[in-house]
């Protein structure tokens, strides 16, 4: 069962990329692309799970961090 590691607006801090085992800039790139491709604004909040899954504020999946790296 994947666990939530980030559930806020804004850019996730380094501990989130550390949890995912990736560089912080890689996380930034991936979140930017997932949001834009999902028609979300940069200011929209997302939820990130420790398996890389990203959902929107409503809990609907919009992508996976590892697919964007």
């Amino acid at each position: 069962m994947a666990r939530v590691i980030w559930n806020q607006r804004g850019n996730p801090p380094k501990y989130v990329s550390n949890k995912l085992g990736i560089q912080h800039w890689q996380l930034g790139e991936a979140i930017h692309e997932i949001k834009a491709a999902g028609n979300l604004r940069a200011t929209d909040g997302v939820v990130i799970y420790d398996d890389g899954t990203v959902t929107d504020d409503h809990g609907d999946p919009i992508g996976n961090i590892y697919d964007e790296i």
Binding site: N11, Q23, H24, W25, G28, E29, H32, E33, I34, A36, A37, G38, N39, R41, A42, G52, T53, D60, P61, I62, G63, N64, Y66, D67, E68
Partner: protein, 155 residues
């Protein structure tokens, strides 16, 4: 082996990363129509209600609205954001086109009630100057119209 790895990581963190994206969105969007007009294959595209999988690890997703999305991330190797934005502007204003493509896209946007968005990503070392949007780019995108979102930060 630990020392080269640490050096590699430091170099990686000190590198500028930048790209730009363009997307059209709307419930009536037909991705093939946008691709035909801009003469480019989208990075991702889907119609409203269409089931799609964004990647091998990602779950199947239902499009809440139609989206045609293009990213320069894997297309333009430059570390200068202006080069990435220029690539997007050329999709809308090809050389020698005399605004014919702009008119065609604007007609589609009006008919299908589409929105256009441009986003800019930039990450760089703490001592680097953050980029700015060239006025010629913001002026061109304003004519579409497309709004511009920036996501700039230093590591």
């Amino acid at each position: 082996m630990a020392i080269p790895s640490a050096i590699s990581m430091m170099k990686s963190e000190n590198t500028i990363r930048t790209f730009a994206t363009l997307r059209f969105a709307g419930d009536a969007l037909d991705p093939d129509e946008i691709s035909r007009v801009v003469k480019e294959t989208p990075t991702r595209a889907y119609k409203k209600g269409q089931r799609y999988r964004p990647g091998p690890r990602g779950p199947e997703i239902t499009g809440k609205t139609g989206v045609w999305y293009f990213s320069t991330k894997r297309k333009i190797p430059s570390k200068d954001l202006a080069d990435h934005l220029d690539a997007l502007v050329r999709l809308l204003f090809p050389f020698g086109d005399q605004d014919r493509r702009l008119k065609e896209i604007r007609d589609i946007m009006k008919r299908e009630n589409l929105q256009a968005h441009v986003t800019c990503f930039w990450r760089g070392p703490s001592d680097a100057n953050q980029p700015s949007i060239p006025s010629v780019v913001s002026g061109a995108l304003h004519r579409l119209p497309a709004d511009i979102e920036v996501d700039f930060a230093t590591e």
